[in-house]
Amino acid sequence: MPAVYKKAARAVANRFGHVSSGFSFWRSGVACLRITKPFGWCFPLMLTASFCGAADVDQLLPECAALSSTKPEVQDFTGYQGRVLLIDFWATWCPPCRKSMPFLNSLRNELGDQGFEVIAVNLDEETREATRYLASHPVDYPILFDPRGECPQAFAVETMPSSYFVGRKGRIRFVHHGYRESDRALIREKVLSLLEE
């Protein structure tokens, strides 16, 4: 699509609300639009509607900017093609996020040689809170730091924590919201089924 049309489309979209970053016309084929301007008073008449389909089941992974612990770069997760991925959005201030980490760590270590990897995207606004937490509660899987929240925006994350299960072909297969102890069996089962494909 010619650049000038892209620009015009974005301008029109911006008129009506915030356009989530990181979307790609090529990938999703549809503008991801969120209407956030208030209708009259924001409370209780606030209307927040999301027409985002950027990170739903069967979509390809969006790209977003996040810092890895070694270098800042835009992650497009293409390096993980052929492996089963669990992209986990977490923060230190979210207790279920903290509770899920030892379990994900042990699952990842157990199934790693079958091609399973966990990538955790930390969303603390102060990255040093996260590094301090990780110093005393280390995990073996890679952590990306996204204090500005660009990745969750691209993925349209709705809850904390959120886990995106990605199949070997790079498509999102399953989205898991939140974490309770009772979810462990389900998570394990889903990962195993994706590994078998």
Binding site: T36, K37, P38, W41, C42, F43, M46, T48, F89, A91, T92, W93, C94, L123, D124, E125, G149, P152, Q153, V157, E158, T159, M160, S162
Partner: protein
């Protein structure tokens, strides 16, 4: 102005300006709200202790649902 009018004015002054927000808060932006100091009551035992002192020396009942234990009033 009488007491009630004053109360209404204060309440409106505190509440109204905060209505025109128009900002949405994303689930991952709730870190600051999760801080202990941002809770409605970060320290329930201390708040109860203070309320007990006030309850026994003033004529006003606590505004929020209370554990109405005893008097200790005298």
């Amino acid at each position: 102005m009488n007491s009630r009018t004053l109360a209404a004015v204060i309440l409106l002054c505190l509440v109204l300006p905060l209505q025109g927000c128009g900002i949405t808060v994303k689930p991952w932006q709730r870190g600051n709200l999760a801080k202990r100091e941002m809770a409605i009551s970060p320290d329930p035992p201390l708040r109860e202790l203070r309320e007990q002192v006030y309850l026994s020396r003033e004529a006003t009942d606590g505004g929020k649902g209370g554990s109405a234990g005893g008097c200790g009033c005298n």
